[in-house]
Symmetry: C3
Subunit: 196 residues, 3 copies
């Protein structure tokens, strides 16, 4: 399968780590709310943080991005540590929802973008973005045994879809990646924020 | 891994798309019952429709069948559109259960058949058929947060098992594929229908 | 990816089958408690038994260990048969929890060990051990629609972590595999047993 080396640029890497960190935070905080131990919080941080990207990589036949890389896992652990050391009240309110929304749209953009770099056609690439954006939160909710976030009557999947579509349009028009990624992530995040 | 080109024949392709469509319908209708948006319905249609085949392809080391193909995803979207545009009352009653049962057995046959084409021994091939038949419905139910269909005290896994076993027997006896697939799908579907 | 042939030694194979069998038993017994049919019990035995190892193999890019091998599946079926033929009262009490704990730690050791054999760095290898140890039980609980075992306020993930860490330390120090595996599995299992 052709691998576009652009996927390895620092910007994608940073976006990827951003998506990991915000999802990891939402996973760790969910475990914290349930009064779990630190190890379980770290487990939730990891599974939520890397879940979406893992499914994306398995689907497009890429090596799973965090398995050969110590940074990603370290970020999940550090995020769990922050969630563990700080009072839960810091994270009350809607901050967690916004973090989840940013992870959702950042992963939607990354999923679509990496899929296109692997030669996936535009339409499946959009779907790949949506699925990988939503999977982290679904795994978190399903493992915790609470109703999945996508079942709430809100614009959730739709926000991921907007980000993924804009990303694929930008890539098809050959716009600069930095602009495409920023616009796509921000647009989806604004739509999601409006629904929170 | 040896790839039998027979897997690419039109009949398998049509069966595969049939399995996708009926599972996609059951996913879209579940989301419709929960009064979700169209995008969420489409997401459920996709995840339910391709879930079983995706697991099958990951397990046997094949490229995931819908990722490089725009048709499969288009069918899921079209199915979601149909479910969205038609009154829910059309789909009341047991139609959804029958659709699910047909998807179950069609996927069980396809999973076993494709596994054998990839050189998997008969016994694991049967299990592959059963697992891939059941996974679409399990993912749908788990993501929706409702009790999984396989926990109901009905003949569900057993119907998938019957289809997968008949398929592997037919393939081992070198019967014509069209006959094997038809008999195996119909037999499992009849057993499942008796239980509905 | 470099494959260390040591992974194919009899000891690992036996440990792998042990992990499969105890998890399979816990899956079959859960289905038995819900008064499911034998086929559904066998399905739960299989999914629970091979779930952790399947995720491990997908993550590290190895062929899925049970797909080309008839033994693993046969062990799951035999375990389901035992659970089906014996009175449920035999399995009451904490035996199931101990079986699950042994599967957890045996898989944590195996996951970490096989990951290192595939050239995964130590830290991700530990995480791989933890994830693969916990996934079998999570799949079992999620599919059955009951609260996942890792949400109980007990030392569960921590026991898997202890086993995986000890395994990676032992491998890094080049201790004999048999000693490393035994010590790591037993230590994690004792921690888990203390929590039951």
């Amino acid at each position: 399968m052709p691998v576009d080396s652009a996927i390895l640029t620092p910007v994608v890497d940073i976006l990827d780590l951003l998506g990991v960190a915000v999802f990891a935070l939402s996973g760790a905080l969910l475990a914290a709310k349930e009064r779990q131990t630190f190890v379980t919080m770290a487990f939730f941080a990891l599974v939520t943080g890397v879940g979406g990207g893992t499914i994306r990589d398995l689907l497009i036949g890429a090596p799973v991005f965090w398995v050969g890389d110590a940074w990603v896992a370290a970020i999940c652990l550090a995020t769990a540590l922050i969630a563990w050391l700080t009072p839960t009240s810091w994270w009350e309110g809607r901050l967690l929802d916004f973090a989840d929304g940013l992870g959702l749209t950042a992963y939607a953009v990354l999923g679509a973008s990496k899929a296109m770099s692997y030669g996936i056609p535009p339409f499946p690439a959009i779907l790949m973005g949506i699925i990988t954006g939503c999977v982290g939160g679904i795994i978190r909710d399903v493992v915790a045994g609470r109703p999945s976030i996508i079942m709430r009557p809100e614009l959730y999947v739709t926000a991921a879809a907007l980000s993924a579509v804009l990303c694929v349009i930008g890539k098809t028009l050959a716009l600069p990646d930095a602009i495409t990624w920023t616009v796509a992530t921000v647009a989806g995040f604004m739509l999601r924020s409006a629904a929170i």
